[in-house]
């Protein structure tokens, strides 16, 4: 067991974990944060994407011990985040999910695309989503939902100026 101490969704947590435990398993099994989903467990499906130090990362391709002193944010940790709220509304309105398995990671990836200004066109959004697989194949509505949220955020930003 190795001691690990990290900031998780704003709160400091400390635990002892076996070094082989992935961040994903740590989140789900030790912290009960089951919004992080595990599909392929080798970095291909994207379902386990979380933020590590503010940047999207595959939680199946990070060890929990390697997150010592880092900041991790999961889908449960976005209350009050304006971009995430816009995305949630938009996914609801545009029917951007069916079974919901890929949705938490789709939202986290989409938020990153919008914040990095990489959601300006359908092509850009599709490129940015290439690493997140939806096995319901609901991409059309997911892309529409992200485009709508990006437009809303851009409008709010220009209205606010």
């Amino acid at each position: 067991m190795t001691a690990v101490r990290l900031r998780l969704n704003g709160a400091v947590v400390a635990d002892d974990v076996p070094p082989r435990m992935s961040l994903a398993d740590f989140l789900r099994e030790r912290r009960n944060l089951t919004g992080t989903h595990l599909g392929c467990e080798h970095g291909v499906c994207g379902a386990c994407t979380v933020l590590v130090d503010g940047e999207p990362a595959r939680s199946c391709l990070m060890l929990a011990v390697a997150c010592d002193d880092r900041e991790v944010r999961t889908i449960e940790g976005f209350a009050g985040d304006l971009v995430m709220e816009a995305l949630r509304r938009s996914f609801h309105q545009c029917h951007g999910l069916q079974c919901g398995f890929c949705t938490p990671a789709m939202l986290i990836t989409a938020r990153d695309l919008i914040l990095r200004r990489r959601a300006g066109s359908e092509h850009e959004i599709r490129e940015g989503l290439a690493g997140n697989i939806c096995r319901c194949t609901g991409y059309t509505n997911i892309v529409t939902a992200i485009a709508e949220a990006a437009k809303e955020i851009a409008k709010e930003a220009s209205d606010g100026q």
């Binding site: 076996p18 082989r20 994407t49 940047e55 999207p56 595959r58 391709l61 060890l63």
Partner: protein, 277 residues
């Protein structure tokens, strides 16, 4: 699947990391971004007894920008290069390449040193850094040595790095303003490994002309006849195509089938045409 049981250490200095590795070179694996190693561990294709985590070592994150080259620490991430958070010696080539590697979530963690050390046969950096005439510095118990990237990879997943050495940094010469480069990657789903990949660079200011292909059944392959022609200003497509053909013929140890040969020719010709256009 889940990774097999493993021990984990995070040394505080590069020297300590070298000592740890030298103590158990057969059982230990160095981990940086871990974007390939952890996938292989989860699939049980790799089961090291000890992981030595180097990704936060300040020595490996150092970046220096001098008159004729940029030196990047081995643990600089693809995303840092994509976002130009590090100085770009390559006149846009490196950020462009970085933006096409896998997915952003992987680029945020994956490192250039990790990519060179793994030497995946269809990876972008080994070919690009070879074409840029970059030099890799490795550190081991017997000290430091510098190796040309063009000679660093010796085959698929094989390099000149010994089991006791760690990649420290990468020195990339600055391209001059007159440089033209081309970069072409043929892959069906975006962001996956390439079926064929070509990079061409002509820098009259540094007398550099290189054409390198990858995903070529081995280490990155230099197309020397083609590079000489492109460097000499040849624009005749038939002449260039026959030079590519001669270069591919010479690489008989790669055993290209007709389809692969055709893919590599298309990739190389498109990259060359980006230079000559």
């Amino acid at each position: 699947m889940k990774a097999a049981a493993v021990d984990y250490v995070r040394p505080r200095s590069l020297t300590e990391a070298i000592d740890r590795l030298a103590a158990a070179p057969d059982e230990a694996r160095v981990i940086a971004g871990g974007q390939s190693l952890l996938a292989m561990m989860n699939l049980r294709l790799a089961s090291p007894a000890l992981l030595i985590d180097i990704v936060r070592l300040p020595e490996l994150l150092a970046v220096t920008d001098d008159a004729d080259a940029v030196t990047l620490g081995a643990c600089v991430t693809h995303a840092a290069i994509e976002d130009a958070r590090t100085p770009d010696p390559s006149r846009g080539l490196m950020p462009r390449v970085a933006s096409t590697l896998s997915y952003r979530a992987i680029r945020n963690r994956g490192t250039i040193g990790g990519s060179l050390a793994l030497a995946g046969p269809a990876a972008d950096w080994p070919a690009v850094f070879a074409a840029l005439d970059a030099e890799v510095t490795v550190l081991g118990p017997n000290g430091r040595r510098a190796l040309k990237c063009a000679e660093f990879a010796t085959g698929p997943y094989e390099t000149k790095l010994t089991d006791e050495e760690i990649i420290e940094s990468l020195r990339i010469p600055k391209l001059s303003a007159a440089t033209r480069w081309g970069y072409v990657k043929l892959c069906r789903p975006s962001a996956l490994f390439a079926d064929a990949l070509a990079v061409a660079i002509v820098d009259p200011g540094r007398d550099l002309a290189r054409v390198v292909i990858d995903a070529a059944n081995g280490a990155p392959l230099s197309l020397d006849d083609t590079a000489s022609l492109v460097g000499a200003g040849q624009r005749d497509l038939a002449a260039l195509r026959s030079a590519v053909g001669a270069d591919l013929d010479r690489a008989s140890d790669r055993h290209f089938d007709e389809f692969e040969r055709s893919l590599h020719t298309v990739a190389a010709m498109r990259a060359v045409q980006q230079v000559t256009a």
